[in-house]
């Protein structure tokens, strides 16, 4: 019934490749089916002005799409001289979500920038960015600890994200582009490894959605998040 033939609660194949490029403190290629995003983590000593002297660090994120990562080419934002509203919204969401994974006091006066650049888009680029960005962030934290820049790893919980929706009346997990563009409702769910919610953003695309639909979407989201958390853990601990 789904265009991809998947079960309603089935994720797309998920692949997380660490050390994808060589310069960044953390560098991850995340592939969720045909969606491919490079997530890098850059550590810089110092904090933005509004945090000066507060004895804490900062996590921020930036997001971009290569102009031809999509079906038809989108304008290069650098050439337009302006990020779109969608980009701004997404990078704020990524930053907010990843800050929830970290004790900023333990990070000291360091700033970590997570860059999420979409190489190929097929739905779910923002949730892939959060999931992959967490792995890059975790790698950067290890570098900080190994280099004795900080004493203790400031990661307090693991963060993962997934999109869910209502497609032909059924709650489904991990929408790809053909589903995303036809779903009645679209919801991004960001959770931690203890099952707590970090952020929920649900939007009715045509009809309003009911309590029942929301409960159904949350149920498939919970299943998907558990699998993604597992995949992150495997990438971070088993594969090195």
């Amino acid at each position: 019934m789904r265009p991809s033939g998947r079960e309603a609660d089935q994720l797309r194949p998920l692949k997380i490749t660490r050390n994808f490029t060589k310069h960044a403190e953390g560098s991850v290629l995340i592939e969720c089916g045909d969606t491919k995003v490079i997530c890098t983590a850059t550590v810089v000593h110092g904090v933005p002005r509004f945090l000066k002297g507060k004895g804490q660090g900062w996590i921020t994120a930036e997001y971009g799409m290569l102009p031809r990562s999509t079906h038809s080419r989108v304008d290069r934002e650098a050439a337009r001289g302006k990020q779109t509203g969608r980009t701004v919204e997404i990078q704020r969401l990524i930053g907010r979500s990843l800050r929830a994974a970290v004790n900023l006091k333990k990070l000291g006066e360091n700033t970590i920038t997570i860059d999420c650049d979409v190489i190929q888009a097929d739905g779910g680029t923002r949730t892939a960015s959060i999931t992959g960005g967490f792995v890059a962030l975790a790698d950067a934290m290890r570098v900080l600890v190994e280099n004795k820049k900080i004493k203790e790893n400031p990661i307090t919980s693991q963060i993962a994200a997934i999109s869910v929706g209502v497609y032909k009346g059924v709650p489904v997990l991990d929408l790809d582009y053909p589903e995303d563009s036809n779903a009645e409702t679209d919801m991004n769910v960001i959770m931690n490894d203890k099952g707590g919610f970090i952020e929920i953003q649900g939007t009715a695309e045509g009809e309003a959605f009911s309590d029942e639909h929301m409960m159904g979407m949350l149920a498939v989201a919970r299943k998907g998040i558990a699998e993604i958390i597992e995949a992150q853990r495997a990438a971070l601990f088993d594969k090195e």
Copy 2:
């Protein structure tokens, strides 16, 4: 227990003044406690380029804060030459929510712009903008029908919004600024008059939030939305 002394599920005093300024097709001053927003609706014949020739209309929104609507002055975005990420995010939310109230086909090739300008801020400016913006939109639709620009009123449902949160462990309704800046979780809920969800955006501010908290927040939101829907109706039908 709340700084304002309100009950956990009690709204702030809500006042909706129509025809607040004289030029716009719809012009509303909405006051939610000390939060005051001017919402105007402007009708222009024609549609944006991406809708040309599709035989439908468009609803869009813009949001701004007077520089000294807040405790300390914020930079004037027109002088900075750029809207902040927060502004962009809010005006996209307002536009999306209000489009859910309208049959765009019945609107014909007309564009309605909802301008929400915050005169005084005390928490909840984005939800006040949606609630007040709906009333301005409804007035503009009446003008279109009265002037025979369209045959039928394209409003399909009534839309209202409210913020809820978890404050000192308790789900509370309609956060003011002192609560908003100390809440553990903050959630904006936009619903229609049939009890369907249009949009939900919940964000953990420190700790992740639980299912139980979410259910609690949705419960107070539902109560608040019902009262706001009533107040909008009173403003639109009884008071004229």
Copy 3:
């Protein structure tokens, strides 16, 4: 003979409301007939770079119109990313005029920003901004003195502004929009309470204007300014 039925030298009803919003050090709603402007004064410790270490303060002004304060909606400057030439010109005039009211040495190293935001426009928004801005400025100065941030009130004179013009060959006072758009000449006059000129800007709109017209316009301006000075004084001293 005037569209409004006023005498040639008659002001529109003038209303000055202090403490209009709650956060600013000075906050004034000025209403000149249907023209309504919110003027706030914000005090910040410190001065712009070009005044660093000179032992003096600074007064600056910013001006904006709500997009639908006018007959047809004007683009939101924050969204366009640029203030129009008209806006720039007006806010420079407001700042220059209000600096003439103040001994900047006595202000110490403080900067006061006057924000003038037009809620509803019906001609004369720039002169209303100066007149209302002066009252907001005076309130901010009182706050500075009361809080012992400065020893002495730095206000040296009272400043008021009015537009005059030649309409159907006759010099008239305080042009509203229908007159303004049809006047042969338009002149903004800013004066102090001792009858001295702070700034004069007269523009022929079609025909050049003669000495005689100028003398006539100055005469009605002088009468109007005297009444406005009185109204400011009443607002500042009697009504509190």
Copy 4:
């Protein structure tokens, strides 16, 4: 008594060189003492959008200073990405003043752009731009008539501009930079060849100025304008 040794009502040496560069329809170098401005007039068929289909033409102006035309270098506006408020104000004044010289109906659907670029600044660059810009405009009109693009020369009057001020208590004509930076009052006067006023902009620099000072400034302005009008005429008619 004046730094330059001039009489109170004496102009600086004024030199107008036509055909200064070879590409423009009108190209003038105007030298007022050490102030040197290149004024070119460019004719393009067509009008700005707001005039489409109204059967009239348009005159607009742009102003710039070479970065090192002044004592200390000013930022190049093209590199900053923004014109300063002062520039915007000046180019609006030039455009408005020159439009007063022209019957725009007779110009047909043509747009003339006057570019005023200051090569060397020593006070009075905006009035030099208007005076020189008029000559460039007149040359462009002749080209249009000679090339039979229009039937009749649309110039209706001759426009000239001068700055006057109060320096050490005395009204003086044509301020150079040392005077300009010390004058108590500064006034720009734009008039036509029939003695009518096109625009007056007077600004008190410290003290307010009196009626008497204004009358004194207008008297010297009138004398100066008459001489400038004569010089323009000589340049346009005798020297070719």
Copy 5:
């Protein structure tokens, strides 16, 4: 003697992967040692305004670096709101070079945009972009021919590029970052498959360079270009 141990006239390992992403008409990953660039070609029907109605097509290029493609992170140009001078210079060079490969008349009124996005930088990103961009362009042309949008393949010659330099007094081929940042002279050479020059840009980095050095650099460039031309051909014809 070279940091990499290569011979003076030895290229880095060169790998060209076609069909790297799935949406673009041409999509190439080019790897020159550790320098990795994604080059995509996008075909759009229509031409820029300055070519309307001339019966020809257009090739243009855009270039960007992922923020952490380099040793230390560079600002995201989309966030700064401006492309750097270096970026502008590079993308103009890429566009100019690739237009030399094409008969624009035969392309018809189509525009091809080559996007070159650097994933990992280690010297020579602009020449890699040209070499890889040509392959993406060639693929896009095949698509146009296969889809019968044009009759004949408009490619007239094969274009490749390489950097050469003088390092420790010796002309060397294909500088990597450690060489590039220490070379006395740096020259980019773009040639076609007939041995003709398309563009040469040589810059002395400290000392001026001599005729002898130039001849030496051209000699190694010629050898390198021949090998690159061969590699492009293999990628385009043999591997499919």
Copy 6:
């Protein structure tokens, strides 16, 4: 055979006027035939951030064209809010070339900005800017030495630039606009007074160019540069 009737290796009349304007430390009008550029040098104490504390100075350049310096008016970059790619490319070339003339250590922590503003364009404006810019730079260095801001003149060599090209199959020197727009190849050559190359930028305009053409262009360039070097020397040493 050349449109101007010149020999293949003949320069246009070259005129260098020092002290062209009065404020700058160096101010030169350079005229190469009908191409006229004002080059000024401004000295400011201090260096850009990336050189702080390195005990050296900096040379930078900016370039602009008056809007009507060309056949048809180009947009004023200050009004567009953006410099074109061409402008950025040119000003980077001028700065790079002139830095090659200077020992930046001996300059101390001073920054010299060379402003090149084209008054009239007829081909070769970038090379004229470099040639004239060098003379302005040399004058500024003398001022620094005379005012004892630095001990020793930091100029290490003389820099000059010329364009050459292949026109109707023949290598020619110093292209004017009619040649430039029809040349098959266009090459800018920047050399010092010892015959070393500072920068070479050659571009094929239609056909690729051969070794033989390159050798021919370099030969005429060498002849032209020698004459220009002589003219700079005459301007700097003989004429004062």
